[in-house]
């Protein structure tokens, strides 16, 4: 496969002005008084993306993921290093950033298209598709200042996906529109994947990455800490996120860890529809209370269930604690599932401890239904 994006030794350094000397007078009177700080948003990032790949870029807030994306799109210039791109690229960094409020939807489609680097002729060819996708047939000649925010975003998204770019860059914008429009967007992204186009997706929603991406890279404070299959990358992302939170906890001497899960029967094997009991072992160096989070995933990375943590409060004593967990009437069908366990603070849901893939759950099912969960169904002929 052809490499379409090559990121080579990219670093980006920002100078942050704490006191802005914006006016001429201030600059002349106090040429160096405003303190400024150097902030390295990205350090020596290297990776490449092959044609047809869908790459997720994950990281917590301030990890540099948006900076990296902006460098790839050419909105920011890297301080050092270079990025080599093949094919045309459409970026959805902020939907409708290029719209002119006074102009009609029609004029804005052309203007936005030319900003994305497409010619008038190319936009002519897809204009009807854009309008159909955005579902704004009746408003296309209305100035966009009269649009609702949803209409605005729909139009922008419609342009970007219909110009059929070779590389589509999406920054946390999938959370727009109503559920039906979101489904349509995801659908379009899947079609892009089938067409062999390359997609870069930045998000901090692990579920989105799991659902769409083939591969993910993880950024942490401007450094790339993982590059690989989605499940591995997400595990590292979670661990980093957690490590970060422990570091930043006030008086952070206390560390809670989840040592493991053990089943009384010795194995995590359960028959469809029956109950599973297991114990979680947690240790900590001072008393702490929190809520237990239990997630069940399929091996393909689909979240099957996350419990209501509010309903699972635990209080830990210093030392080693055992907490009993029961999963009732497991509705899963035949297969192997992963269990993640975490402990979150009662308020604010800050993560205190997390263990990814704490156990694998084997579900036995004799029936002939297929899928992830068994929904009892019966057919009656009237």
């Amino acid at each position: 496969m052809t490499t379409v994006i090559e990121v080579q030794d990219i670093s980006k350094r920002f100078t942050i002005h704490h006191e802005r000397n914006q006016t001429l007078k201030e600059r002349i009177l106090h040429p160096r008084s405003g303190s400024s700080e150097i902030f390295d948003a990205l350090n020596d990032i290297n990776f490449s993306v092959a044609q047809g790949e869908t790459l997720g870029i994950v990281g917590h807030n301030g990890s540099g993921k948006s900076t990296l994306l902006k460098c790839i799109c050419g909105v920011l210039k890297p301080t050092t290093g270079q990025i080599r791109l093949r094919g045309n690229l459409a970026a959805l960094l902020e939907l409708g950033a290029g719209f002119q409020h006074e102009l009609s939807g029609r004029d804005n489609v052309y203007l936005y298209g030319s900003m994305l680097g497409f010619t008038r002729k190319m936009v002519d060819a897809i204009f009807d598709d854009v309008v159909a996708f955005s579902e704004l047939e009746h408003f296309i000649d209305t100035p966009v200042k009269f649009y609702s925010s949803g209409m605005y975003v729909r139009l922008a998204f419609a342009v970007a996906v219909n110009v059929n770019p070779d590389i589509l860059v999406v920054d946390e914008v999938l959370a727009v529109g109503d559920e039906r429009f979101q489904a349509k967007c995801i659908d379009r992204i899947r079609r892009f994947q089938r067409e062999g186009r390359t997609i870069l997706l930045v998000t901090h929603q692990a579920d989105t990455v799991r659902a769409i991406c083939d591969r993910a890279i993880v950024l942490d404070h401007g450094n790339m800490v993982a590059d690989g299959p989605v499940t591995d990358a997400l595990r590292i992302f979670r661990e980093r996120l957690l490590g970060d939170m422990i570091d930043h906890r006030p008086g952070g001497s206390g560390v809670v860890s989840i040592d493991g899960l053990s089943a009384p029967s010795g194995s995590f094997e359960v028959r469809h529809g029956s109950n599973l009991r297991f114990d979680a072992t947690l240790s900590c160096d001072h008393a702490v209370s929190g809520n237990l989070v239990i997630e069940v995933f399929t091996r393909t990375g689909l979240l099957v269930s996350r419990n209501d943590a509010e309903a699972a409060p635990v209080t830990l004593r210093p030392g080693v604690n055992k907490v009993g967990v029961e999963l009732a009437n497991v509705p899963l069908l035949d297969g192997v599932y992963d269990i993640n366990v975490g402990l979150v603070e009662p308020q604010g849901a800050t993560m205190l401890a997390w263990r990814e893939k704490a156990a694998s759950l084997q579900v036995l099912y004799d029936g002939r239904s297929s899928g992830v969960v068994g929904i009892e169904s019966s057919v009656t002929q009237w």
Partner: protein, 309 residues
Amino acid sequence: MDEPSAAEQRSLVASPVRVVSARASLRTRLSNLVARRELLLSLITSDIRIKYKGSALGLFWSMLSPALTLATYYLVFSVFLKNGIPLFVVYLFAGLIVWNMFQTAVSSATGVIVDRAGLVKKVSFPREILALSNVGASVIYFVIQIVVLAIFLAIIGHAPAWSFLWLLPISFLALYLLTASIAVVMSAITVYLRDVRHLMDVVLQLWFWVSPVVYSYENSIAPALRVRGLTALYFINPMTPIILTFQRIFYVNTTVRSTTTGLPLHILPAWSMATFATVNVALLAFAIVLFLVALVIFGRLEGNFESEL
């Protein structure tokens, strides 16, 4: 849904590689500008559309407002102050179209990057296109005004200097590049020093009054400088030779008989066509270099836009 055919999945092996790096060479900057000419055109048309959106007279304003300025200056200098220049309207018109093009472009481009920070921070395109689109819009107004001037000359039956007409495109190109250079550099400087915007208003006013638009070249300090052999000083202002060329082409006469005193009035320098040609070609060469320098300066300044906007 329509599934893609195999042919649609084009391979990108043969596609050219684009490079994003800290500093682009002048050659890349120029080729990027050429590649994005469609964007320049759509920005120009949208600029003009927005400017006259909702106004009943629309683009007609781009003729009306210069016409009102023209009428004012005519009233003040020809009627009240009785400068005695015959056909003073033509003289004024020729100089004003040059000045209007320069002034509207530079004053609108100065704040354009600051005003459109949202776009600059979110969409990738050569940023100098924003300033160039303002220059482009004033070129459109310039063309409209020059058509009006031509019609006006036809009505009053005043023929331009046909033999000098070939200098017009050279002079215009020099004007365009000069305007574009200043517009591009000013748009970038304003990002760092917001005061420049207000300063520019004052500078442009001053600049207007040191250029021979409402008074004649021979009535300025130019003759005094010439006596001391310092004529070159007067031409430090690059607008002067362009304005003089336009006046020579459209007003034609270098010496006229005053309408008030009946004495001969020297209005334009009595240069030969060769002199005009040399001055214009030299200015064009200067403007080309200036434009390239402006792009380089812009490229240097552009690197830190994101921490200032």
